[in-house]
Subunit: 331 residues, 2 copies
């Protein structure tokens, strides 16, 4: 084996599972440390067709975040945006509950056109990420259609209707991933999780119920993680008993799940080797059955994101060494 | 018969046949004089699908012109336009030969969505014209698909490729209206031409070969004009042996047709009762077999457009009275 081949066998690659804004912040930190050694597998359960356009909210959030284009004030869309399209759409009496910026629209029109021409979402996003100067691999969890559907006391509704149009107001009774059984992980997702250079799988601090569950609901994907033989760690989206962003705690309460990091671990049902928890919740996870890493997890600044990413990598390497030692001990 | 019923029977309504920019100027003049008594039947042979969007160049030119939104400098699109969508499209490596403004795009996205949902182009345009405050009726010549295709020495190409991408550079050998035989006039076009209140049919100074021929190629539409029993007049697009706008004279030369108003009359093959000709071409039409009306036809200002529209209406009424006298004489 040459030196190059040995280097190729080094465990350098991280796979991150990610939803939208909260998770993308950690993905950005990881991408700054890892560059092309990072693969982000992104939830597409929130994807939907709107005005005939194919919208992929989480993929685009990751894309814009990793390319430095994200609008941090709004928490969605691009920073350098204009809204003339929406203004005319309003004049035309069209639906305007879902805001589409003029620049953002280019991505949707191009994606819709390419998907209708038979191209895969994976292939399209790879080209876009490349043209946006992103070194990391951004992968849809599947190229097949799964639709996160929210069963509420106000009726059953597609996720974006619940999340954007209804502003999460309806009380959630159940979350369903329509079409999940007909989906499969893409060749690229499978390859990333089968890669002998895989160092760890990191579950970003996204909503477990809305962003990570759909990814783990792609038949076979969870198994790929389980058999990868690398540490699997999650960063808890809970800080001080509350979700930092979005409807996570409201939904957990409505589903009768306590808003705790412990509940997050239970949600992932044995998949995790370790949990990264905020210092505010250190006591709560004191006697968890998995390893914990207690650090500040709130990401407000660039330094926060980089710091948490570095801390997560230190943690997975610590877990790796521990596992490695145990493995050696067993022989 | 009540007074209202008698008024209903008055011949107040004008149907104009129209292509893009040149024709739309007269349509604007007519619409200012006639309001809801004007129906503009518009060429849709130039319509095409671009990036998955349904584009109707002539319909939109008429729409923007009649609503006062047209970009007079560019000669296409809207005056109050921004170009952020195009900028990102370029970054994404997409086709950019056809410019789509951010505001203009709302019309294309909405039209594409509604047509794909099964709505007719006629119904969609009626709603849009209404929301743009236009009193005149703007009708596609057909709701079926006809595609103007240009056979050139550089090969066969769809009209927009020839006109926009190739800037009319290829030498035209033939113009074909693909799918024409499968089209039919809409119920609205038929009703407008069958209307007992019809006063005249005015062919706007559009390109006869590219803009008016497609309209007359819709099976049955020419016959509806012929049997309407009202004066049919054209405004010649030729001034001083040259076309005011666009590739009309270049194409006429390439097709071996002299660039004269006489050639325009021959092109319309017996359909016309009268021709409105510019003062610069008065001599040339001296011994035409149809009535001529020699006035300045160049429309640079609002006053020009209104003046020509008024002059055209005077001309058709003069023709009506002459016909009326003859008819009385025959009985």
């Amino acid at each position: 084996m040459t030196a190059t081949e040995k280097a190729d066998r080094k465990k350098t690659r991280i796979v991150a599972l990610c939803g939208g804004v909260g998770g993308a912040k950690l993905a950005l930190g990881l991408s700054r440390l890892l560059g092309s050694d990072l693969t982000v597998i992104v939830n597409t359960g929130d994807d939907f067709e709107h005005l005939g356009l194919q919208i992929s909210p989480d993929l685009d959030t990751v894309l814009y975040t990793l390319s430095g284009l994200a609008n941090r004030e709004l928490g969605w869309g691009r920073a350098d945006e204009s809204w003339n399209f929406m203004e005319v759409l309003r004049d035309l009496g069209s639906e305007t509950w879902f805001q589409l910026g003029d620049r953002d629209l280019a991505l949707h029109v191009q994606r819709t056109h390419q998907l209708k021409s038979g191209r895969s979402l994976t292939s399209f996003m790879a080209e876009v990420a490349n043209s946006f100067g992103i070194a990391a691999q951004i992968l849809p969890m599947t190229d097949d259609t799964m639709r996160t559907t929210v069963v509420t006391t106000d009726g059953v509704m597609p996720f974006q209707r619940y999340f954007v149009e209804r502003r999460c107001a309806p009380v959630v009774e159940k979350i369903v991933f329509d079409g999940a059984s007909g989906t499969k992980p893409t060749a690229q997702v499978t390859a990333a999780l089968n890669d002998p250079r895989l160092r760890a799988v990191v579950i970003c601090p996204s909503n477990p119920f809305l962003s990570i569950d759909p990814i783990l609901s792609v038949p076979g994907l969870r198994r790929l993680i389980e058999v990868a033989g690398v540490p699997v760690v999650a960063v808890s989206p809970i800080i001080g008993g509350k979700a930092v962003k979005g409807p996570t705690d409201k939904i957990m309460a409505e589903l009768g799940v306590p808003t705790t990091s412990r509940a997050i671990v239970e949600r992932y049902g044995g998949l995790l080797d370790g949990l990264v928890v905020d210092v505010a919740d250190g006591d709560e996870v004191a006697n968890l059955s998995i390893e914990t890493h207690i650090v500040p997890t709130l990401m407000k600044t660039e330094a926060d994101r980089d710091g948490l990413a570095r801390s997560v990598l230190d943690f997975v390497d610590r877990l790796s060494m521990a596992t490695g030692s145990r493995e050696v001990g067993c022989r």
